[in-house]
Amino acid sequence: MAYSDKVVDHYENPRNVGSLDKNDETVGTGLVGAPACGDVMRLQIKVTDDGRIEDARFKTYGCGSAIASSSLVTEWVKGRTIDEALAIKNRDIADHLALPPVKIHCSVLAEDAIRAAISDYKTKKGLD
């Protein structure tokens, strides 16, 4: 299967790979998996006091589309407020990367990961 140029770019030069301190009060960690293919994705956000995402990191073990989806999402969430980040839909990710139908679940995984990271942050802050 041919990957789009954008997927190849993110795969070869992934943005924001790595980790943030998961015990930091201002860091939210989302950990999600795609059982059908054995992928695992961790997405972390660091949030300022006024609710803006100042940093994001990811680590994904999976196919090129899963890596590209999570890499793209870390770029997109930086500088956004939590609510703005929650508005990112898997459709946006899939469209931007031109994912084929069989790889749509990779973008779903990335959306799930943002939601999980934000939910973890909110729980830590007692915002839920």
Partner: protein
């Protein structure tokens, strides 16, 4: 079932019409277990499975049906293919388990299915992956061997639990699917470990 040639009814187990002797096509509604004339169970005797496959396969060998009509020769080939598919799935412990979960209505290959794995498991898988990434240099084969041993024994334990669950009555379909999904993760890690060793 009705014979395609003489339109008379024939028995569930017949593949040759008792009235006119015509060879019938394979029934689409049979499970892999039905096809190999076994009761559906995870714990099967694989030698017995291979014997059944060989015995049934002989009945559909092209040489035995060479003098039949084109339709019947095609049917004999379809029987042989269906038997091979059934054998290929049932002889493999993981494929057999996934197939049995499928018989209960959940398709493990469907990426949109909503199997959620425990966060603790996902964290362990990520940590294992990170540990593998850090393996480099000369004295890592001991560490790699240790990880491989741990993952392999965990794989066996999970497969045992899945098999017990499939043959028992207590485990829910969700629990079974979680075991099967965990096997996928563990297997991927084992495959990557083997690739590292090469």
């Amino acid at each position: 079932m009705k014979c395609w040639r003489c339109q008379r009814e024939y028995g569930d187990r017949d593949f040759i019409c008792p009235e006119c002797g015509a060879l019938q096509g394979p029934r689409p509604d049979l499970s892999h277990f039905d096809r190999l004339e076994m009761s559906p169970s995870y714990h099967i005797d694989t030698a017995d499975l291979a014997d059944r496959h060989r015995r049934l396969q002989r009945q559909f060998h092209p040489d035995r049906h060479a003098s039949r009509s084109a339709v019947e020769r095609r049917f004999s080939l379809e029987h042989a293919t269906a038997l091979n598919d059934a054998f290929r799935v049932l002889k493999d412990p993981v494929k057999r388990a996934e197939y049995m979960i499928g018989l209960r209505g959940l398709d493990m290959r469907d990426e949109s299915n909503q199997i959620k794995l425990p966060p603790m498991f996902l964290m362990e898988m990520l940590e294992l992956r990170e540990a593998l990434d850090e393996l480099s240099g000369s004295d890592t084969h001991v560490e790699r061997g240790r990880i491989e041993h741990d993952v392999a024994s965990r794989y066996e334990r999970t497969l045992d639990a899945l098999g017990a669950g499939l043959d028992g009555t207590d485990a829910s379909i969700v629990v079974l699917a979680q075991y099967a999904a965990q096997l996928k993760y563990l297997k991927r890690i084992l495959e990557d470990l083997h690739a590292l060793a090469d």
